[in-house]
Symmetry: C2
Subunit: 135 residues, 2 copies
């Protein structure tokens, strides 16, 4: 069935996650403690691989571990309405868009500040520090 049998390092390579991070996900209960080998090594099956891949993908999309926990919980309650998933996604998108807007405003200011330096001067007549200084 869920045939293959991975050590934590295999899982790490297969998902692009660091070994310590996988163990961290276990300690916070995001993934279940797997079985152990004779030598007390963690042994994962393909279900664990799929779950971790999903988690990684969500992290790449910028979801928080809290969001991911909700998405994983929802994904197993097949009768709940899909709307809840969409709400999480939409809220996250809104956050990302806000962050972009904030950073763009920041970049405008930083460019203005940066161009105020025309090189060669000393700190004592530094235009950048003037530009940063309030008033």
């Amino acid at each position: 069935m869920s045939g293959a049998d991975f050590k934590i390092g295999d899982l790490a390579r297969a998902t692009g996650t660091k070994v310590v991070t996988i163990r961290y996900y276990e300690t916070i209960g995001l993934i279940a403690p797997p079985g152990r080998s004779e030598a007390n090594y963690r042994r994962y099956d393909t279900a664990a691989l799929d779950r971790l891949r999903f988690i990684r993908r969500c992290r790449d999309l910028g979801f928080s571990l809290g969001d991911i926990r909700e998405l994983l919980d929802l994904s197993s309650e097949t009768e709940r309405p899909c709307d809840e998933v969409n709400q999480i996604t939409a809220a996250h998108l809104a956050e990302v868009e806000k962050k972009i807007a904030d950073l763009q405003a920041l970049a405008v200011e930083l460019r203005r500040i940066s161009t105020s330096c025309h090189g060669g001067g000393t700190i004592s007549n530094c235009r950048i520090l003037d530009a940063i200084t309030p008033d």
Copy 2:
């Protein structure tokens, strides 16, 4: 000279910084420990106010406390070349621009994922979860 005499709460209000944050800046050595009143209250002068205002402004511009420390150190070494200030600013700008690009790529994906939901379904046939799931 540096006439006025502020309690920490006054400084907080004047700069839009929380009291605990000011004390935190003191513990990490970003601002110097000020004098104390009879009752052991911190007492700040206008130089401290200016320094904290500068720090706040830099934080609003997204500089790390490490960067701010360097900027403050540089600002007192009046004979050093201004280039070092510009380098810090330029590096920060580059980071901000990279973050914007990353977030924009993310937003594109999230919008694609979000529009795959057409409402009313249940988790079992949720297109969003499909869209997030790798492969």
